[in-house]
Structures are given as C-alpha cells and as structure tokens.
C-alpha cells in the first residue's frame, strides 16, 4: 500500500518536517514569514531575502578578524610587575604541553578549527554560487558545514573569558588585549552569518548549478 501512495504523490510541492517526519505542503513562503511544522512546532523554513550576498559580506568581515582573534593576546595578567598573556591557540598549546592531549584536541576543534572552517567553507560555497561555478566538491563542502554546526562554539568561549576574569580579578591585574576585541567581532559575525544563511535556498542553488552543468 505504501508504495502505491509514493508513486501517486508529486514530490515537487511537498516537504517533510525533519524533526517528526510529517509531510507538509511546501508553500514557498516569501522572505520574513517562516513555516512551522503544525504537528511538532519545529521551524521548517525561514526564508531570507538575498541570503548569498548578505552572508558573503558577513563572512568576509569575519575572515578579516580571523587572524588577530586567533593569534593576538586575549587577556593580559600582571602580578607584581610580571606579565603573561593568552591567545586562543596558546590555550590549546599549553594544554598539549601539560599532557592533556584529548582536552587540547577538543578545545582546538571547538574554539579554533570548527569556527574557522565554517567561515572558509561558507566563503568557498557562496563564491561558487555567486559566480555560477559548479564543482563536484560543492555538495561535500556544504554538507561538512552542516556537520561543524554543533562544534563551533565561540559564544561559550566568550563566557569562559568572563569567568576567567572573575576568577583572577582578586589575584592580579587583568587587561583586555587586542585579540579580545577581534574575538568579540568574530563571534558577532559568526552569529550574523548563521542567522543570514538560508540553508534550504543554498541547497536549491547547488542543485540548480548541478543541473545546469549536466544539461
């Protein structure tokens, strides 16, 4: 019986809720009005106007801030004339030197690798769409972007910086470094990039590019 239904259904006007699998009519909503699953309440589609250009602008801003945010001092500490500072990468290196290989790997992935890779992957995918250029790698790259979503957690790192300041404030004089300002900028751009990215639209664009190439 199930097979007969599947043969009759026209897939072009349909979509399914990714959280509860309910079949929903695809309404192709205009930007600004989102579709919510009537059964479980998950957002199905939230179209964003001009998503490629907006996201590309934010991604390029983020990439300018990328170097100072990762390699400039975030905090500087002074006790009786002795100073020391830390960078995003410095924390990873010091954990590794201290023998905490796994912790340093996780911190590296969550605070440096995943956020950076997300920016670079978005830049490559969006530029290809913007320039109407198709390569077979495009689908793999954008799929990887989706996998990295759970691991790029700069906002948590930001709170960790505040916690560290609170813990050390009685012990020493703490100053914010240039890296911290760039890091805040990087955090804001990563949030803006995620909120301006319409994944459904990007997948459709990639599919169109693929069909153009084949025809």
């Amino acid at each position: 019986m199930a097979a007969t239904i599947a043969e009759k259904i026209d897939l072009s006007g349909l979509t399914a809720c990714h959280a509860c699998d309910l079949l929903i009519e695809n309404q192709h909503m205009l930007p600004g009005s989102k579709t919510v699953c009537p059964r479980c309440g998950t957002t199905i589609e939230d179209p964003i106007a001009d998503t490629v250009n907006k996201t590309l602008a934010v991604v390029i801003t983020g990439l300018i801030l990328w170097w100072p945010a990762n390699f400039m001092p975030i905090l500087t500490m002074t006790i009786i004339g002795n100073t020391s500072d830390n960078t995003l990468m410095g924390g990873v290196i010091d954990l590794y030197r201290g023998g905490f290989y796994w912790v340093s790997l996780v911190v590296f992935v969550c605070s440096v690798l995943a956020p950076s890779a997300k920016f670079f992957l978005l830049l490559i995918v969006l530029l290809h769409i913007k320039l109407d250029h198709y390569t077979r790698l495009l689908t793999t790259l954008f799929r990887f972007y989706g996998y990295l979503d759970s691991w790029g957690i700069l906002e948590v790192y930001m709170i960790a910086v505040l916690v560290s300041i609170t813990k050390l404030v009685d012990l020493a004089a703490i100053h914010a470094g240039l890296g911290l300002y760039c890091f805040v900028g990087l955090l804001l751009t990563s949030i803006l990039a995620a909120s301006n990215l319409d994944k459904e639209r990007i997948w459709e664009s990639i599919e169109q590019l693929c069909q153009q190439k084949n025809s």
């Binding site: 199930a2 239904i5 259904i9 897939l11 349909l14 979509t15 399914a16 990714h18 959280a19 509860c20 699998d21 309910l22 079949l23 009537p38 059964r39 479980c40 309440g41 998950t42 975030i74 905090l75 500490m77 006790i79 002795n82 020391s84 500072d85 830390n86 924390g91 990873v92 010091d94 954990l95 905490f100 796994w102 912790v103 340093s104 996780v106 911190v107 969550c110 605070s111 689908t139 793999t140 954008f142 799929r143 759970s150 691991w151 957690i153 948590v156 709170i159 960790a160 916690v163 560290s164 609170t166 813990k167 009685d170 012990l171 020493a172 994944k199 459904e200 997948w203 990639i206 599919e207």
Partner: protein, 219 residues
C-alpha cells in the same frame, strides 16, 4: 477538534535526507544496500540505523565519565609556592564566597546541572519510546530540541581551564595546571553531544502500534 489523517514521509513510502532536507522516493533496495542522497551525497535512511542503541550506549558512557569528572580536581592553582587543587564544585563554592553569585550560578548550571539533566533527559526520551509511555510527543520534541541546544554550554569549564592554563604562567609566583577531571569532563561533554546527535527525534512520532492506522488528533 477535528481528527485529520496525518501522513509521515515514512508511511507514504518516502524518506527525507537529514543533511539537505530533500524529500526522496524510497527506492527498491536490497537489504544492507546503502542509499545516497542524489542532491548532497549523504547516506540517507528512513530512520537513523540503531538510533536507540547508540544513544543508550553514549548516554551511559557519558554518565560514567561524569563521576570522575566531579570527584577529581579540575585544576591546581599554585600561588607563591602553595598548591591549591579544586574540583568543579569547589570552584562554584569559592565564587559564592567571593560574592560573585551570577557567575557561580552560570558555572553551576553549565558544568553540573546541564550535563546531568542532558543525560537524564535523553534517557527519559529513550524510555518513553521503548516503553511506549503516553507522553505528549510535542513536548518530547521540545525536550529534545532543548537538549540539543544546551549541550554546548557545558564546554564552559573546559574553555575556562584552557584560558587559565595559558594565562597564569608566572613560574613560582603563580601557576595554574589542569587536573584529571578536565579529561573526563571534556569526554562527558563530547559524548553527550554525540548522544544527542545519534538520537532520531522522528522516532518520537512513529506509531507505536503498527496494527492500528496512524491517526492523530490535530492540535
């Protein structure tokens, strides 16, 4: 409220790619043959294979890791030659004593409440499916979404350790080194994130009694 037949993609003989959300027809396949999404190239399944077993395994592993994570010291501060080791809960108590209540609450929630609640939330979802508990599927979906969203905040303590270890390096004057709990805690957080990822929330909505037709009251 009118009753309306609500068809899931699976019961209509369709399947959706979880990576790019494309809806596909379920083709004739031999058992164990791998299906690939034609749009994005990801492996597709009507339901994630062995989702419940994998989630159980990861949730229990995370729970085991949380015991040493809370008992062993997470870091040692050596200030003018005097070492002072502290566990996660010691850090919270110290902040309460220092009147830094908001930060203490944030750390308590992120590093003690969230990991345990996440594991117990996942176990509740697993049991509700396997024992066919009569809980609202909509609320269970919401619980799953919350579990997915809050998990990352547990990384707070691991990040704090990584900042402090790099920052406080003044030799005999003041030095902070990481403790054994950091490894276990980090493992617990990563494993709970994987556990939440391996859980297929569509199982919450699948009809537990296949003999009866799939009917749902439209809310």
């Amino acid at each position: 409220m009118p009753t309306k037949k609500q068809l899931s993609a699976k019961s209509a003989g369709l399947l959706q790619c979880l990576d790019c959300h494309k809806l596909l027809r379920y083709p004739e396949v031999k058992p164990r043959e791998k299906l690939i999404c034609p749009r994005c190239g990801a492996a597709v399944h009507q339901r994630r294979p062995d989702s419940l077993a994998k989630t159980w395994a990861l949730a229990i592993t995370a729970l085991i890791c949380l015991i040493p994570a809370n008992l062993y010291p997470i870091m040692t501060l050596t200030y003018r030659g005097e070492p002072d080791t502290s566990t996660i809960i010691d850090g919270v108590i110290l902040l309460v004593k220092d009147q830094a209540i908001p930060i203490a609450v944030v750390i308590f929630i992120a590093s003690i409440a969230v990991p345990f609640l996440k594991v117990f939330g996942l176990i509740t979802l697993l049991l509700s499916i396997q024992l066919k508990w009569n809980l609202s599927p909509r609320q269970r979906t919401l619980l799953y979404r919350i579990i997915e969203a809050i998990g990352r905040w547990s990384m707070l303590d691991v990040f704090t350790v990584s900042i402090l270890v790099a920052l406080v390096q003044l030799g005999s004057l003041a030095e902070i080194t990481a403790g054994l709990a950091a490894t276990f805690f980090c493992a617990a957080v990563v494993i709970t994130i994987f556990a939440a990822m391996s859980f297929d929330s569509r199982l919450i909505w699948d009809n537990p009694n296949p003999d009866k037709p799939e009917l749902n009251i439209d809310e």
